[in-house]
């Protein structure tokens, strides 16, 4: 087990700067998920830690050792690949024992460690099989088994669940979580699936365009996004954003294209410098509620139901409010509400919704940083 520390880590492929100086400390024993859209640099970060790519700048530390110039085999890491990368010509046993044998571990110990890992992952009956005779889920377990027998300081996992079907993915997610609790090895897990990130990680690192946007616990990144990108990326359906004009004297208001919402007293201080300026107002779909409101803080907004998606336990309403003229650049305000399935709304209906302003967000229109 070890802490992993990245200092100003940079990587360029030719003229393309994929990582633009990342600073990240992953505490010993944590399960950290690197989350971001395709091309954000998360897999590159993992490959740099693994030693499969060479950094063009910065330093990588595993424990106290700087590993930039060490080959993968000397970094004491194990990696689970997206494709599993099991050796097709070896049996499950040999796949798991391969790394141990290369490190000169005695035969009895190899046997003992492979058997233990196989037992833990319920692979014992499959040990004599070749990978081609295994199902996707079994292959995935062998890939994990190959990583854990090595007893490495750090586990690296590159989207290990993306080739599994939805049901197996949920099941394996739970198993990985349990495995981490049991082994307590520092784990760095790359995914673009936010559900995996939020459920697996003790810490989530959100990346975009080669930069870390935010690092925090799953609830941190969900409830207190550092910027508009994080707010829009984490959560499904994504957060609703409205261009808004900060208006008023003593009491402040968000003036949207077609409606106006009060700024809560708690948020006034943060928004005061933005008086007379444009900001981005953000509200999550679950904080858009059906109803008339109280007329004071929870001001009702009239909107038309464009599309209704019934998901069983909840309904997504795709709403639009009529265009207004207050904000010059405003387009028609479309937003999503996540409501109770008993809500009596139909497509084409005109409904009244209220925003839970206590859980609203505001972002600087230029820098996109969170104002509150």
């Amino acid at each position: 087990m070890a802490e992993v520390r990245l200092v100003n880590l940079a990587k360029a492929f030719g003229p393309v700067q994929v990582l633009k100086g990342i600073d990240l400390t992953i505490p010993d024993g944590e399960f950290v998920v690197l989350l971001g859209p395709s091309g954000c640099g998360k897999t590159t970060t993992l490959r740099l830690i693994a030693g499969l790519e060479e950094a063009t700048g910065g330093e990588i530390f595993i424990g106290d050792r700087k590993v930039n110039d060490l080959p993968p085999k000397e970094r004491d890491i194990a990696m689970v690949f997206q494709s599993y990368a099991l050796y097709p010509h070896m049996t499950v046993y040999d796949n798991m024992a391969f790394g141990l044998r290369l490190h000169g571990v005695r035969r009895e110990e190899v046997d003992q460690r492979v058997m233990e890992a196989a037992e833990m992952l319920e692979l014992t009956p499959l040990l004599a099989r070749k990978p081609r005779a295994l199902s996707g889920g079994q292959r995935q377990r062998v890939a994990v088994g190959r990583a854990i027998v090595r007893n490495p300081k750090v586990f690296l996992m590159d989207e290990p669940l993306s080739n599994l079907d939805a049901k197996l993915r949920v099941q394996t997610r739970v198993e990985l979580s349990k495995l981490h609790m049991k082994l307590g090895v520092t784990t760095i897990y790359v995914t673009h699936d936010q559900m995996e990130a939020m459920t697996l990680g003790n810490l989530v690192v959100i990346m975009n365009q080669g930069i870390i946007q935010q690092m925090g616990t799953p609830s941190d990144v969900y409830d207190r996004p550092a910027n508009k990108f994080v707010a829009g990326f984490v959560g499904s359906p994504p957060m609703n954003f409205f261009p808004a004009f900060v208006d008023g004297e003593e009491e402040l208001f968000f003036q949207m294209a077609s409606f106006r919402l009060p700024v809560l007293p708690d948020h006034r201080a943060a928004l005061a410098p933005y008086r007379g300026k444009e900001v981005v107002f953000g509200i999550r779909p679950e904080d858009v509620n059906m109803g008339g409101g109280d007329g004071a803080v929870h001001i009702p907004v009239t909107a038309k139901v464009d599309v209704l998606e019934l998901l069983g336990a909840e309904i997504f309403l795709y709403l639009s409010s009529p265009e207004g003229t207050f904000v010059a650049a405003a387009t028609s305000l479309s937003f999503i509400a996540r409501v109770d399935p008993s809500t009596p709304a139909k497509e084409g209906d005109s409904v009244q919704v209220v925003f839970n302003l206590g859980r609203s967000h505001a972002f600087d229109a230029d820098s996109e940083r969170a104002i509150y």
Binding site: P71, P72, K73, F81, S83, Y87, P88, H89, H103, R146
Partner: protein, 287 residues
């Protein structure tokens, strides 16, 4: 493979199937007839080599020609076979040993001149061996490799290597990079990953490459004729020519030699046929 063929044939109309079979029968007959005639001639007694009889096994069939080829010390059949085997096996082995790492480099690494290098290798295949005869001969004289097996092997390598590199590179391209990377993380060096992971996975491609290189050397005549002048060094294609006299050719032993010589190739072909069919199509169908 046969399974797929018949499955596909089932869906076709009977006329189409008839036509396909007819073409196949004609093609097989055209390929087999000369071979069968050679076998027939090899079984005839020396007096009736020019007989007009068309039966496959002549009525007075005898193994005398085989006996004379195999056991007549003046013929030197075993020397030719030994020489041919040595040249062909070494050609195949050296071609594999050199082509596999070269192909791996072409498949995996980025280096200056990679693309031109590959195209250059391909271009060398456009020239028939006879065209290269004079320059090869002059080079071998300079290297004092005339009348030397290594000279001949060197010439064969120049034909077999580019082809082998192309075949192997195409195959290596189909092996995902992840496997080597997994091996690096498990503790191998790049060379270790090549030997422990890539080569064991490439048996089909290695087999056909070896077979092609072997056959290039096994049945080659013209270069051998130029490089080897001492009878003791003759490979079988040169050796069998010595059975032809200026005024008279002993066709019985000549045919017997031809039949015997084809046996190692047939055996090799049968041994590797499984790989040959899969190996040739692997590059095309594997993602």
């Amino acid at each position: 493979m046969a399974g797929t063929f018949f499955k596909r044939a089932k869906g076709d109309s009977s006329f189409k199937r008839l036509l396909i079979n007819l073409i196949l029968i004609v093609a097989c007959a055209a390929a087999l007839y000369p071979v069968l005639r050679v076998i027939t001639v090899s079984l005839r007694p020396s007096g009736s080599v020019f007989s007009m009889d068309l039966s496959l096994i002549p009525p007075d069939a005898t193994l005398a020609s085989y006996q004379s080829i195999l056991f007549d010390p003046k013929v030197g059949f075993w020397t030719w076979i030994g020489n041919s085997l040595m040249v062909s096996v070494i050609t195949a082995m050296v071609a594999l040993i050199l082509a596999a790492p070269a192909a791996y480099a072409f498949s995996r690494f980025k280096f200056a001149g990679k693309q031109p290098g590959l195209i250059f290798l391909l271009v060398t295949q456009f020239f028939p061996a006879t065209m290269l005869l004079l320059p090869l001969y002059m080079m071998l004289i300079q290297l004092s490799l005339i009348n030397n097996f290594w000279g001949l092997i060197l010439c064969y390598m120049s034909i077999a290597l580019p082809f082998s590199i192309w075949i192997l590179r195409g195959y290596f391209d189909t092996i995902p990079n992840d496997l080597e990377e997994a091996a690096y993380i498990d503790g191998t060096t790049p060379l270790g990953a090549f030997f422990r992971v890539i080569l064991p996975l490439s048996t089909p491609a290695l087999s056909i490459t070896a077979l092609f290189s072997f056959m290039t050397a096994w049945s080659e005549f013209i270069i051998a004729r130029v490089v080897l002048q001492k009878q003791a060094l003759f490979t079988w294609p040169l050796g069998t020519v010595t059975l032809q006299g200026a005024y008279y050719t002993n066709w019985g032993p000549f045919s017997a030699a031809a039949v015997l010589i084809s046996i190692p190739v047939v055996v090799l072909f049968l041994l590797t046929s499984k790989f040959l069919v899969s190996g040739l199509t692997l590059g095309a169908v594997k993602g």
